[in-house]
């Protein structure tokens, strides 16, 4: 049938299984919005307060479900406002399709009003991008964008559509949802080699990353760990992949990881790394990383092998398939000495934690906040975060009850990510959503409270308010002689009134009892709730491996 370009776009989105999009209208996408109006029964559009919020919402939508998140923005500033959100998705390998309008072909290159070369701008932060010059290519380009976004190592794809292409008319025929491009199967000899290394090892450590989390491999990994008597640790991005009920799971390793997890990784003689990229925050000084260990790495991306850390065996291709074949080839094994050693490490970790908790005299400590959240959050709760100390505490303390329940910006570390992402996660799942944020991060994109109120998105916002930029302050305390340059916020914001002004409910709490009451009330609300939870400005995230440091440099004491 003959359709306008804008209609072809929306029809193709629907055809590709898109049910929700996030965006903001503008001059060069009016036609797209007109088509969205036409198909509003088939595709739900969420109008955010800012395009950045739309990009984070599309990202959160994807993280919570694995589906491709979609956001739409107009040309020029609309498009550039998506940039941080696209980069966030890129660094965490999140499948996303960003649609932007642009000035008509005839005005391209003339510095026209709201013209920007957004494919040029997003070149380094997209998996691929397109400028759709001709309407003939429109539908297939959108299909291809979805295929690229979700295939192999996922990532964001931007499609820039000039106005004349939206307005023009062309033939459209619906097609099936595009399939992922299948990944190559790893050669049998390499699988044998991996099985051999696993059979020979004495201290196995399975290291789980975002790649494994995205594939929902958690249960299988735990079963394998039982079989070969291994322990499991994860990177930041691997959080929520492994059921927290497993005793073998030591939690996150790395800069602010669990002591036992980082130490066990350092003591292991074989690391089976699944979907990790050995980020500097995870490894510290690479020259001293896991020196006693051989490393087997499973990843869909060739470029991840030997990029940061030299590995002994890289299995590039279909990760699930490789893993399954390795599991089949491995016999049951027992490593009781190793598990005993790890238990000792865990006991040590517990001692450190108690010391840290005892050192704080504050009325409400981060640990208490998270204990209350853990005890009271309903099943299936998605926990979103912003970036900073609160994020690391979340990573350390929160007990996730399933995969895709942790929504947080790892690679890019985007302050202001949380609220948009939390909304996206709710739109996708309709499950309870809690946003853990700080007063610094929340200040960056709190405008999205308006969106959450409008759409009755019941996100419980736990604002860990310490009046400072806590993570930078922690570095200033430790490494800059307490010279607190520009990290003391000293703002007079009344977050309860602010919430009310937006049409949301607000609480101010200063004790565990009040926090617990507010948290439980907030869970019942029919819209967003802000809980301004006051904590001390000198709480630390511990343990800490100093940047560029190694495991011996670990800081476990407050002062």
């Amino acid at each position: 049938m003959q359709l306008k370009g804008a209609q072809i776009l929306v029809r193709t989105l629907i055809e590709q299984g898109v049910t929700d999009v996030f965006g903001y209208p503008g001059g060069q996408v009016i036609n797209i919005y007109d088509a969205l109006y036409e198909y509003k029964d088939e595709i739900n559009h969420v109008l955010t307060a800012h395009e950045q919020g739309a990009s984070h919402a599309a990202d959160g939508y994807s993280r919570a479900t694995g589906k491709v998140g979609v956001c739409i923005a107009t040309s020029g500033p609309g498009a550039t406002n998506l940039v941080t959100g696209i980069a966030t998705a890129m660094l965490d390998s999140i499948p996303m399709v960003a649609i932007t309008g642009n000035v008509p072909n005839s005005l391209i290159g003339k510095d026209s009003f709201q013209e920007i070369d957004i494919t040029g701008v997003t070149l380094p932060i997209t998996k691929h991008n397109y400028f759709v010059k001709r309407i003939e290519d429109l539908a297939d380009t959108i299909r291809e964008a979805f295929r690229i976004a979700k295939s192999g190592r996922p990532g964001p794809v931007l499609v820039d559509i000039p106005k004349d292409v939206q307005v023009g008319t062309y033939e459209y025929e619906p097609q099936a949802v595009t399939e992922k491009t299948p990944l190559p199967k790893v050669k049998e000899a390499l699988i044998d080699e991996a099985a051999k290394l696993l059979a020979e090892c004495k201290r196995p450590y399975i290291y789980v990353g975002g790649g494994a989390a995205g594939l929902g491999m958690g249960e299988d990994i735990v079963a394998f760990a039982e079989k070969i008597d291994a322990v499991i640790g994860c990177s930041f991005m691997g959080l929520s992949a492994i059921p927290e009920t497993s005793e073998r799971f030591l939690g996150m390793q790395g800069m602010h990881g669990h002591y036992a997890s980082s130490m066990a990784q350092n003591e292991a003689d074989l690391i089976l790394a699944i979907g990790v990229r050995f980020s500097d925050r995870a490894t510290g000084n690479v020259a001293k990383f896991a020196k006693k260990s051989k490393i087997i790495q499973l990843d869909p991306d060739y470029a991840e092998i030997n990029k940061n850390v030299r590995v002994d065996l890289g299995l590039v291709g279909d990760v699930e398939d490789s893993f399954k074949r390795i599991v089949e080839k491995c016999d049951k094994a027992e490593h009781s000495d190793w598990l005993y050693q790890v238990r000792e490490l865990k006991a040590e970790e517990l001692r450190f934690e108690e010391e840290i908790a005892a050192a704080s005299t504050a009325a409400l400590t981060p640990k208490q906040v998270f204990e209350i959240i853990n005890a009271n959050k309903p099943a299936k709760t998605v926990i979103a975060t912003d970036v900073g100390q609160h994020q690391m505490w979340t990573a350390q303390y929160v007990r996730f009850d399933g995969p895709r329940r942790f929504v947080s910006s790892g690679g890019l570390g985007t302050m202001g990510f949380g609220l948009g992402a939390a909304m996206g996660a709710y739109v996708a799942t309709k499950d309870p959503v809690v946003l853990i944020t700080g007063d610094g991060s929340f200040g960056m994109n709190l405008n999205e409270l308006a969106t959450a109120v409008t759409y009755k998105i019941p996100v419980v916002i736990v604002l860990m308010n310490n009046g400072v930029l806590g993570m930078v302050r922690q570095w200033q305390t430790l490494f800059f002689g307490k010279r607190y340059s520009n990290t003391v916020l000293d703002r007079k914001t009344d977050f309860v009134k602010l919430a009310e002004a937006f049409g949301a409910k607000g609480y101010l709490v200063e004790t565990p009892i009040d926090f617990k009451r507010a948290f439980n009330e907030a869970l019942q609300a029919n819209g967003p709730v802000v809980i301004d939870a006051r904590i001390d400005k000198d709480e630390f995230v511990l343990p800490m491996l100093p940047p560029g440091g190694a495991i011996d440099d670990i800081i476990t004491k407050v002062r």
């Binding site: 494919t119 040029g120 070149l123 380094p124 998996k127 691929h128 400028f131 690229i148 991306d301 060739y302 470029a303 092998i305 030997n306 990029k307």
Partner: protein, 166 residues
């Protein structure tokens, strides 16, 4: 950094912006390009980019290039591959140097492609080291301007870039 240079050939889809994507990836990942040539291939669908770069870490760079959707194939060329570069060099044409220049042109199997009373333009083709040698030879006579294409290269025999799977 080693002095060893590696030549890689990149088969890319022949479309707008491809060169930016490829060179951008080098900048982004902190690699240098010594020379780069690009042109048509036996298939109108593809262009071939020949890049001369530092040997160190080029494996990582190749893996990064494979992440580009427009990149079809990347290959490190064999050490004994056939390499050619073309140079045009404009040199001062002074009577006392003329015969020496002409001898060099002869020996290097170069050719004079433009000639005037006070200058001449010479075209030389060959492996990069031959071109280097010719430049050195011309230096004393006063090089006015020169331009080199950068190296193009093909493997010997019937083997082609697309014939083997990585």
């Amino acid at each position: 950094m080693s002095e060893k240079k590696t030549i890689i050939a990149v088969y890319v889809e022949n479309q707008a912006g491809v060169l930016t994507r490829v060179t951008g990836m080098f900048t982004r990942r902190g690699f240098n390009i010594d020379s780069l040539t690009v042109g048509e291939t036996e298939s109108p669908k593809y262009s071939r980019i020949t890049i001369c770069m530092d040997g160190d870490g080029c494996e990582q760079m190749i893996n990064q290039l494979y992440k580009l959707v427009v990149v079809k194939k990347v290959e490190i060329l064999e050490e004994d591959s056939i390499k050619r570069e073309l140079m045009m060099l404009k040199v001062r044409n002074e009577s006392q140097n003329r015969s020496e220049i002409m001898t060099a042109v002869d020996v290097f199997r170069a050719s004079v492609i433009d000639y005037s009373a006070d200058g001449m333009c010479i075209e030389v083709t060959g492996v990069p080291s031959k071109i280097d040698a010719f430049v050195k030879l011309m230096e004393p006579f006063g090089i006015l301007e020169m331009c080199r294409t950068g190296v193009v290269a093909l493997d010997r025999g019937t083997k082609t870039l697309l014939s083997e799977k990585k």
